[in-house]
């Protein structure tokens, strides 16, 4: 028995110092192979007395377990070491650059149009469109601006023919005309889009964007107009409070007409919307003129309502601190990358208008 114990101790010592997986496997077969040392010891058990056998078998089993465990842990130990060594060799420099990311962007005008549409959608407006090329009637005459009206001088118009019949729309208001002509009241629409005036300097571009709003129903009055615009401006600029001023003005197609100013101040060279005692004009609006309603076959004694027109580019400039209107349309890669928006940043009510 002591032989066996000695053998065991020897092998434990051997295993403790052994680091080669093949050699450990050799030891395993030396001990537990068909003619292995331990296997042979077990075979001998048959030839000894029952009493002796009991004791010896128990010892032998313990020795077997101990050796097997030792072999198993040794193999695991060596394998882990080898894997770690392999992984160590495979190590790469993860600070090397990734494959190129191609980041696309949404133009600020598009983003602002989506913001505006999202806000008005919340209060039940739907989106209408109209063509960029308009006829004289829809752009002017139907909107109570006859040919001899001096208000036409305020619209420097691009014409497509010498008779001045076809033109590029100078505002989005002709969409009002189209919408009302093709449908029946009530109407509750916004119409964003491109508009054109033959005017070009630092603050004017020959093409710009407007959004038209129109709400016609039986009892819509100037209070609703104020409420609607107040809601819009607050939502758009994402401020809790907004200082806003309605000022009488004149547009041929609305009566009474108003221009709307919002309060602002300059803080650290940046414009802050909503506070302060300076005023900034941002839109024109009013109650749709009865002459316009008549022109589109809506009975002005039954229906009334408001309309407004807002410069989209200007709103975007104010909200996002863009100084130069011309830059909107100059396709400078650097400008587009900087002022553009992530395509997944879709303005919505539940996720927030802008991030």
């Amino acid at each position: 028995m002591s032989d066996i114990k000695k053998i065991k101790d020897d092998y434990i010592d051997k295993l403790n110092t052994e680091n080669n997986i093949d050699k450990v496997n050799n030891i395993k077969s030396e001990l537990f192979g068909k003619n292995g040392i331990i296997s042979n010891e077990f075979k001998k058990l048959g030839s000894i007395s029952v009493e002796e056998r009991k004791e010896l078998a128990s010892d032998l089993n313990n020795i077997k377990d101990e050796l097997q465990n030792k072999i198993l842990t040794k193999i695991q130990e060596i394998e882990t070491k080898e894997i770690n060594l392999k992984l160590e060799k495979e190590k790469i420099d993860v600070t090397l650059p990734e494959r190129d990311i191609e980041i696309g962007k949404i133009h600020p005008v598009s983003q602002v149009i989506d913001e505006i549409s999202s806000i008005f959608s919340e209060i039940g407006f739907s989106v209408e469109e109209g063509p960029d090329v308009e006829n004289e009637y829809n752009n002017f005459t139907a909107l109570n601006t006859p040919d001899n009206h001096p208000a036409r001088d305020m619209h420097d118009t691009f014409y497509l023919d010498n008779n001045k019949e076809l033109l590029l729309r100078t505002h989005t208001s002709p969409v009002q005309v189209r919408t009302m002509l093709k449908g029946k009241p009530p109407f509750k629409i916004i119409a964003p889009g491109r508009t054109y005036r033959s005017d070009s300097d630092q603050t004017h571009a020959p093409m710009f964007h407007q959004v038209e709003g129109l709400h016609i129903d039986k009892n819509i009055n100037m209070g609703h107009l104020k409420g609607c615009l107040n809601y819009f401006i607050k939502e758009f600029f994402e401020v809790d409070k907004i200082k806003m001023r309605f000022r009488p003005s004149h547009f041929p197609f609305t009566e009474p007409s108003a221009e709307v100013d919002i309060g602002y101040e300059i803080k650290n060279g940046k414009i802050v919307i909503g506070e302060g005692n300076k005023w900034l004009e941002i839109l024109g609006c009013g109650m749709v003129h009865p002459n316009v309603l008549k022109n589109v076959n809506v009975n002005p004694s039954k229906y009334q309502g408001y309309a407004f027109g807002i410069g989209i580019d200007r709103l975007g400039m104010l909200k996002y601190g863009i100084n130069d209107l011309r830059a909107f349309f100059e396709t400078d890669y650097r400008w587009l990358s900087h002022f553009g928006f992530d395509p997944l940043d879709v303005p919505s009510n539940y996720r927030g208008l802008s991030r």
């Binding site: 696309g104 598009s110 001096p150 691009f158 023919d161 209070g223 109650m287 009865p290 009334q304």
Partner: protein
């Protein structure tokens, strides 16, 4: 419209201070553009001190002076004055100043090789005296602490500049503004003093308003003033004229201008001795001409309203007078005109001849037709007072009587429109102060509109008057009504939104470019569309509406390449114009991609962008927008600006007539013509209008979920086939062998050259076969294999590679 507070107070008794007046003006719709002192040419002259005067290196008589003009630095001025010495306080004029004596504008100049920044002035140069021997010596020590300040004190009063909307001609005169303010509670409108002017004799120059088919003048009032001495205006009048930003000319001209701005009543003064016998107001005949007071000769068309005498045209009525009958300092007798011209006629003539004058601006908007006499009297009084002379009786000829506008106004309309109520009493008071004559008939107010308000024609105009004067701040802010009448966006608007963001998410920067473009570039992309020229383009290189999105996109791509960017992806979504009528436009996405993929990559091999990059972008975007990939059919017919061999058209399904998208390399000729410097340029376009909405809604499609758990098998085939045979055809042939069992066919290799006969290619495909009913056995699979091979061979002429 410019005026001073002082001038306003000639018409308005008010306790309001300046700021209150300014705020009130804005509140009632007379927008204040600015309120500041009128700038003077003399503002630039400042008090300065010579710190150090030394001799000019190249000229003994000149001195080089270091001059303190306030601030931190001194400046160097070359000066020829003998009295220029250290410590002298004098007057300095910086570059840009205009020297009163000779009206010369100073500029930075080199005097004998030394740069002089501005000038030190003598009294004579500033027209203060004839002293020209030396520069001004400001001995008085009150100037010693004023270095850097203006030498001439600004005495000019602050000027209000109003932007008057086109409907308010009455406010193009100070009195009209005062009336509006008084209605709004800012004071009391002063009553005009009764004139005690004495008239002598008759206006004996005969005036006729001729009967014409088109007569632009309906009233012509006039009087003669004999024995005047025309001269410079007195200071008060000069100041008024200057406050308008105009130059005083002579008393007579200044007076007529003054009355125009005071009462919105344009007048014209003729030198009566230069009128040939009589005045005839008539329509012009084509070809007539005259020299106007702006020193230009105008050649007239038919039917323009002219004031003429027996020798011909004297002036354009209500627009501009002529030099032939103009007043001068030597004028002794004048004929003063106060007339009414029809806005339509004025507008037509002035547009045609491109003339803009203060008189034209007013007549075009509508001058009070009942102000003829008032204007003549006010101007005559002033002329008599300043220039002397005797005034004839007033002569007023008219061919039409003024008709009053009467409006029956129901006060309920006010509340219905504005949402708030104003008591009848207050409402009537406002209207009366604005000049309305109000009488009551039960609930209805009968209103006589004042003659100076041509803009007021119906009840809604009355509502505006009341709410404007009452104040917009009284309008309530109602909570927005959230009722919805229909969905926010229709299918195409949603599609616009999806595709825009879908393309952007593929790494393209969205841009917005003009709807117009350069016809020379447009030419390259317009295909069979007609060119749509703009009659009055903003510039010659933006002279047509774009027939395609690409002209601008390529133009700006080139600009960015020239800026040094190499790998650029841009797109725009917007209109492409197909004709010049409203609606002849398509909504299109155009995208361009230039340069390389994996440029300067440490791990991937760089390569040029190619057709299959944009094909992926276009197909993926379409799929994301809801088009089924399996339905899409590609062909190789594309517009001429694409590379004919490396471009394709995308169809929503095989029966579709219009391609909804194109993709591919741009034609090399265009790259050459436009001198675009890039390694590779590929483009794609999607026409949103050609996309058809699926009849099935997404909720119907989702519920059709089907899948098979039976074993699937994959088989590879390689065919030798004609080089021009399209892989899409081959895939279709294989799929059609058994649409149920063949789940997918994937081309994984295309090969030409070695071991492949000339004019042929090898295509290898991987076919996935799976049944929804059972596990296929070897026999089933063999049968399908055989069918695939025989179908392909018989339908395409291909041979299976062994």
């Amino acid at each position: 419209m410019k005026f001073t507070i002082d001038w306003l107070k000639n018409h308005l008794d008010t306790k309001f201070n300046n700021n209150q007046i300014i705020d009130k003006l804005t509140d009632i719709g007379l927008e204040v553009e600015s309120f500041e002192s009128s700038t003077s040419e003399l503002d630039t002259f400042i008090v300065a001190k010579i710190i150090n005067a030394k001799t000019h290196p190249n000229a003994d008589r000149l001195k080089l002076c270091d001059v303190d003009i306030g601030g931190d630095k001194t400046i160097e001025v070359v000066c020829g004055a003998p009295n220029a010495k250290n410590g002298l306080l004098t007057v300095y004029a910086p570059p840009g100043s205009i020297i009163p004596k000779n009206q010369m504008k100073l500029s930075v100049s080199k005097i004998r090789g030394v740069t002089s920044y501005g000038m030190l002035c003598s009294e004579s140069e500033l027209l203060l005296s004839n002293e020209s021997d030396g520069i001004i010596d400001l001995k008085n020590n009150k100037y010693s602490n004023k270095i850097g300040e203006k030498y001439f004190k600004t005495t000019s009063e602050k000027v209000i500049d109003l932007s008057i909307t086109p409907n308010r001609p009455d406010c193009l005169g100070v009195r009209g503004i005062a009336r509006d303010l008084s209605a709004a509670g800012a004071g009391k409108l002063k009553i005009n003093k009764k004139s005690n002017l004495k008239y002598r004799g008759n206006q004996n120059i005969n005036v006729t308003i001729k009967k014409e088919k088109v007569q632009g003048c309906t009233i012509f009032g006039s009087c003669l003033i004999k024995g005047v001495t025309n001269k410079e205006s007195p200071k008060w009048l000069k100041d008024k004229i200057k406050s308008l930003g105009q130059k005083p000319i002579s008393a007579i001209v200044d007076i007529t201008n003054y009355v125009m701005f005071d009462l919105n009543r344009p007048l014209h003064a003729y030198d009566a001795d230069k009128i040939d016998n009589e005045i005839i107001v008539r329509s012009s005949s084509k070809g007539e001409s005259f020299e106007a007071l702006d020193n230009k000769k105008y050649i007239l068309d038919n039917d323009m309203c002219v004031i003429s005498d027996r020798s011909g045209v004297l002036g354009l009525g209500g627009i501009i007078g002529g030099t032939r009958s103009g007043t001068e300092y030597s004028t002794k007798n004048i004929l003063l005109e106060s007339a009414y011209f029809l806005p339509r006629s004025i507008r037509k003539t002035s547009k045609h001849l491109n003339i803009d004058t203060d008189a034209k601006f007013r007549f075009e908007r509508g001058v009070d037709p009942l102000s003829i006499e008032e204007g003549l009297i006010k101007a005559s009084e002033l002329i008599k007072q300043i220039c002397g002379g005797e005034i004839s009786n007033l002569d007023v000829k008219k061919i039409e009587n003024y008709k009053k506008t009467i409006i029956n106004f129901d006060p309920f309309l006010f509340e219905k429109t504005t949402g708030f109520n104003v008591e009848n009493k207050e409402l009537i008071k406002i209207l009366e102060k604005l000049g309305f004559n109000v009488s009551k008939n039960k609930k209805i107010l009968k209103l006589v509109v004042p003659s100076w308000r041509p803009d007021i024609t119906q009840s809604i105009d009355i509502v505006e008057e009341i709410v404007r004067i009452k104040g917009y701040e009284h309008i309530n802010t109602s909570e927005p009504v959230k009722t919805r009448l229909k969905p926010t966006l229709n299918y195409y608007q949603k599609l616009f939104h999806f595709l825009q963001r879908s393309v952007a998410s593929k790494g393209y920067l969205e841009t917005v470019t003009w709807s117009f473009t350069d016809s020379k570039i447009n030419q390259l992309f317009k295909e069979n569309d007609q060119e749509i020229p703009i009659v009055n383009p903003i510039s010659s290189d933006l002279n047509v509406l774009r027939n395609s999105i690409f002209p601008n996109l390529i133009f700006y791509l080139k600009k960015n390449l020239d800026r040094g960017f190499k790998d650029i992806s841009l797109f725009e979504i917007g209109p492409a114009f197909k004709g010049k009528n409203p609606g002849d436009q398509l909504t299109v996405i155009g995208a361009v991609k230039a340069g390389k993929v994996s440029r300067l990559s440490w791990n991937d091999k760089e390569r040029n962008v190619d057709t299959f990059d944009v094909k992926k972008d276009v197909i993926q975007s379409l799929c994301e927008a809801g088009i089924y990939k399996d339905d899409i059919v590609i062909d190789d017919k594309t517009p001429s600006y694409y590379h004919p061999g490396k471009s394709g058209g995308v169809y929503q399904n095989k029966n579709e007539k219009n391609a909804l998208a194109y993709f591919g390399e741009i034609h090399p000729n265009i790259i050459k013509k436009l001198d675009i410097k890039t390694e590779s340029l590929v483009i794609f376009e999607i026409c949103l209008d050609y996309i058809k909405e699926s009849k099935q809604k997404i909720k119907d499609l989702k519920s059709e979920y089907k899948f098979s758990d039976f074993q699937k098998s994959e088989r590879d085939f390689a065919f030798i086939i004609n080089k021009n045979f399209k892989s899409q055809e081959l895939v279709n042939i294989i799929k059609s062998v058994d649409n149920k069992l063949i789940k997918s066919v994937r081309v994984f290799d295309v090969f030409e050259g070695e071991n492949i006969p000339e004019g042929k290619k090898s295509i290898a495909v991987n076919v996935t076969i799976q049944s929804e009913e059972k596990t296929l056995n070897e026999n089933d699979l063999d049968n399908i294999n055989k069918l695939i091979i025989s179908s392909v061979e018989s339908k395409s002429g291909a041979k299976i590679r062994s």
